[in-house]
């Protein structure tokens, strides 16, 4: 027992040291001292006091005697084999020694093998030792055989417990130390009592230690039979699944690279590129014709079709000429003989009527003879019924050689309101559309082709109906240009650039109407709606504009803000302004207020004024005479005036169409032949021949026979004008005269 205790103390001191070291950082330890504690210098405290523990119990009385009454003497009491311990309480623990018979029996039975690690059985022994410690008091001796082997193992057990993972060598040292003490167990036993007395405080510490240890003893393997248990989850059996994909497709390729091959291929590519470059330019010009690539067969077919078409056209003309033979004869040779008998009056001989079947419901919005081909005229099919507009329009070219069918016709996306044939290039026709666009058509292109140029609907088209369109002089760079006037009050010059039309706003027609307050404080200026435009024959920058409020503005291309002159010419929209073909200062205008007025430049009042009893759609000066002009009215009549013959009344009034169903819209003189064409609102063009009285030429005076007709005409007009002008011209004179008549 003693050696064990001794060892325990050393172990404990060691353990405490370790513990102190370990816990120093936790919290500063303040030692509680009793008040009467003696002050010991630090050095003394630090000093280690060696203490030798022996197995000799100093309190042990070696030879104890007791009085034996029977013998009547003192007898040495027999020394108990055990130490001087008195068991107070005996508790049979459940721990058993590993090498006891019982344990062996259990182990043999296969029980407890798993959990028996080193710590388990040793702790069991520790407990037993403490129990035995108490039992030591017990007088009855215990079999020491079992205890003999104990010290070794006890040492190890005790060593391990406080120091946790103290390495084995300590245990061995302890074992070595105990070895010699084993030699004198008897002496140890004898002196145990004394030893215990001496080391009272020591013993207390030891007891504390035991109490500390006790909870750990609970971990006895036999009480809580720990064992490791393992659970095996279900293992899915392994399977191999293979798929094989189709290998990526492969192909073979072979070639030979030689300088000559490379060179040839480069040449080929180069020529191809050059060809493409060449083709690019024309393609840009006519990119509208997308279908460009034609096979030889197609080209051949087209050529054949073209030839057949030409043949049929000739055949059609032959047939028509036969049918309309009498009209054709009249057209050329017949003059109304009655003219000889009625002085100063003439008549119009109706010749052909031109109709285009798909355009029956359209109105002829403009009609113009071709300046180059005397038998050809262009017709613009639109619609003047603005509440019931047609969806499409048509541009047709008729030849009087074939009254049955137009030579050229092209359907447009919007009704055509006006057209003008270019004098320089008589197959170029510009048209103004109801939707505000302007287009240029090339009559030479095949029939299926559409416009050659068109204004951009988004960027620069007019916002209103294009009322009149006129070719203008070429630009500096030689591009043709034309002017259009629209209901949105703008006059726009269109330059025909390669592939596109370039718009320039020449003038915006301002109105006298004061600005109207807009929705959020803005002031909206009102443009006056232009309705017709007319260029001065000699001064290309001067042009006249008629508006829907009856104003006639003289404008210049050089001033885009102000008018050169402004005249309140009419009370209703001005439909046409036309310059005299012989005198540049004389022009005629017609209007919806039923009147035709003849004006001279620079005068605010008209020279002549005629009231025709119906809106006048058109007025045109005759190209052959300086004093003759024709007008057509909405009640279907054509009026022909010759101021030289009658200054106040027309020399010919002829109803061409029934005024109930149709109206006449436009009229035009043929430049060379004595015929006029006029269009009505049902899509018919009437070609009329002027009777001899309507086209009387001037007879040169006997004095000057050599004077040519043009000079005579000019003289005639001047003479007439002098009659009107020479008396101091007073306002209202003409009106009065007219009213009188």
């Amino acid at each position: 027992m003693a050696p064990k205790k001794q060892k325990e103390v050393t172990a404990k001191s060691r353990g405490n040291l370790v513990e102190d070291d370990n816990l120093d950082w936790l919290k500063p330890r303040t030692l509680v001292k009793p008040d009467d504690q003696e002050d010991v210098p630090e050095a003394d405290l630090e000093e280690e006091v060696g203490r030798i523990l022996t197995t000799i119990n100093p309190q042990w009385v070696a030879d104890r005697v007791a009085y034996h009454y029977g013998q009547g003497k003192f007898v040495v009491t027999p020394r108990p084999t055990f130490g001087k311990a008195y068991p107070l309480f005996i508790y049979q623990g459940t721990a058993i020694r590993k090498d006891s018979d019982e344990a062996k029996a259990q182990i043999a039975a296969g029980y407890g093998m798993v959990g028996f690690d080193d710590a388990g059985p040793k702790r069991a022994k520790v407990k037993k030792s403490t129990a035995e410690e108490e039992e030591e008091e017990e007088p009855e001796p215990e079999p020491g055989g079992a205890e003999e082997a104990r010290p070794d193992e006890d040492m190890a057990g005790e060593e391990e417990r406080p120091e946790g993972d103290e390495p084995e060598p300590v245990a061995e040292d302890a074992a070595a130390e105990t070895a010699p003490t084993e030699g004198e167990p008897a002496a140890g036993d004898e002196e145990e009592g004394k030893e215990e007395d001496e080391k009272g405080p020591e013993e207390g510490a030891f007891m504390d230690e035991v109490i500390d240890i006790k909870p750990r003893i609970k971990k006895l393997a036999n009480q809580f039979n720990f064992c490791e248990r393992a659970a095996l989850t279900y293992n899915y059996p392994r399977r191999s699944v293979d798929t094989q994909t189709v290998p990526p497709p492969r192909a073979n390729f072979g070639a030979t690279a030689l300088q000559c091959i490379i060179f040839d291929f480069y040449q080929e590519d180069y020529t191809r590129k050059m060809k493409e470059k060449e083709e690019e330019r024309p393609k840009r010009l006519r990119k509208k014709k997308a279908k460009h690539v034609k096979t030889e067969q197609q080209i051949h077919d087209e050529k054949l079709a073209q030839r057949i078409r030409e043949a049929w056209a000739i055949l059609e003309r032959l047939v028509n000429q036969n049918i309309y033979d009498d009209i054709a004869q009249d057209y050329r040779y017949w003059d109304d003989p009655s003219d000889e008998f009625r002085e100063g009056m003439g008549s119009l001989l109706p010749l052909w009527k031109f109709q285009f079947e798909p355009m029956r419901c359209h109105a002829v919005c403009d009609v113009q003879w071709n300046p180059h081909y005397q038998d050809l005229f262009a017709v613009a099919y639109g619609s003047l019924d603005f509440t019931n507009q047609q969806k499409i329009g048509c541009l047709c070219l008729y030849s009087i050689k074939n009254p049955a069918y137009p030579e050229y016709s092209v359907i447009t996306e919007s009704p055509v309101i006006c057209l003008d044939v270019y004098t320089d290039i008589p197959y170029l026709i510009c048209v103004g559309l109801y939707d505000g666009n302007v287009c240029v058509y090339n009559a030479q292109l095949t029939l299926e082709s559409s416009y050659q140029y068109k204004s951009d609907s988004v960027r620069d088209k007019h916002c209103n109906i294009v009322w009149e369109i006129r070719w203008g002089p070429r630009l500096i760079d030689g591009e043709p240009s034309f002017f259009s006037i629209s209901g949105d009050g703008r006059v726009v010059q269109w330059a025909v650039m390669p592939g596109e039309l370039q718009a320039t706003t020449i003038i915006t027609l301002t109105s006298n109407v004061p600005p109207i307050p807009g929705p959020d404080g803005t002031m909206l200026t009102v443009n006056s709606c232009g309705s017709c435009i007319c260029f001065h024959p000699d001064k290309p920058e001067i042009f006249m504009v008629g508006t829907e409020d009856g104003m006639i503005h003289t404008c210049s291309l050089k001033y885009n803000r102000n008018y050169v002159r402004s005249v309140q010419g009419h009370h209703m929209p001005v439909y046409r302004i036309h310059y005299n073909c012989y005198n540049n200062s004389i022009y005629a205008s017609c209007s919806g207020d039923w009147r035709v007025k003849i004006w001279e430049d620079g005068r605010d009042e008209p020279l002549f004024m005629f009231e025709l009893g119906s809106p006048v759609g058109d007025v045109k000066w005759a190209p052959y005479s300086s004093t003759v002009f024709a007008a057509c009215t909405a009640d279907g009549k054509v009026y022909v005036f010759d101021l030289n013959v009658d200054k106040y009344r027309p020399i010919c009034v002829q109803a061409v169409v029934s005024k109930k169903t149709k109206k006449l819209t436009r009229v035009d003189f043929n430049v060379k032949l004595p015929v006029i064409v006029c269009g009505d609102t049902k899509g018919t063009c009437h070609v009329l021949k002027l009777s001899p009285n309507l086209r009387v030429m001037c007879k040169p005076p006997k004095k000057a026979q050599g004077i040519d007709q043009r000079t005579l005409q000019i003289l005639k007009l001047d003479k007439l004008l002098s009659l009107v002008r020479d008396p101091p011209f007073e306002t209202g004179v003409v009106d009065e005269k007219f009213e009188d008549d």
Binding site: P248, P249, R250, A251, N252, F253, G254, A255, T256, A257, L258, Q259, C260, I262, F263, D264, F265, Y266, Q267, D269, Y270
Partner: protein
């Protein structure tokens, strides 16, 4: 070569073409552009060493489009190859070089 020799006689056009010209290709647009640009770069960089040029093209193509590209650069050669579809590009460059790029793994 024969034509080139004849060309001076005509004297009309002795144009030296240096642009890359694709003779045969079934690559995708993106890949083809890449291959052509790469070939041009490589051939200009290693104008006197076709081997290095081919190596450069091959390695770069491998990096960009996955491995196992094969590149032949030369002025005169013949070939018969098996290639994975949509990976061949046979082009001329500089007027005298033929470059064949294909992939086959």
């Amino acid at each position: 070569m024969a034509e080139e020799a004849a060309a001076p006689g005509i004297t009309t056009e002795k144009v030296i073409h240096t642009y890359p010209l694709i003779r045969h290709s079934d690559m995708s647009e993106e890949m083809r552009v890449e291959a052509v640009e790469l070939s041009v770069t490589a051939c200009e960089k290693f104008s006197h060493n076709n081997e290095l040029a081919a190596r450069m093209v091959k390695e770069t193509m491998d990096k960009k489009f996955g491995p196992a590209f094969h590149v032949v650069v030369g002025e005169s050669y013949g070939f018969e190859i098996t290639y994975e579809c949509t990976t061949i590009c046979y082009l001329y460059f500089g007027g005298n070089q033929a470059i064949c790029i294909w992939k086959c793994s």
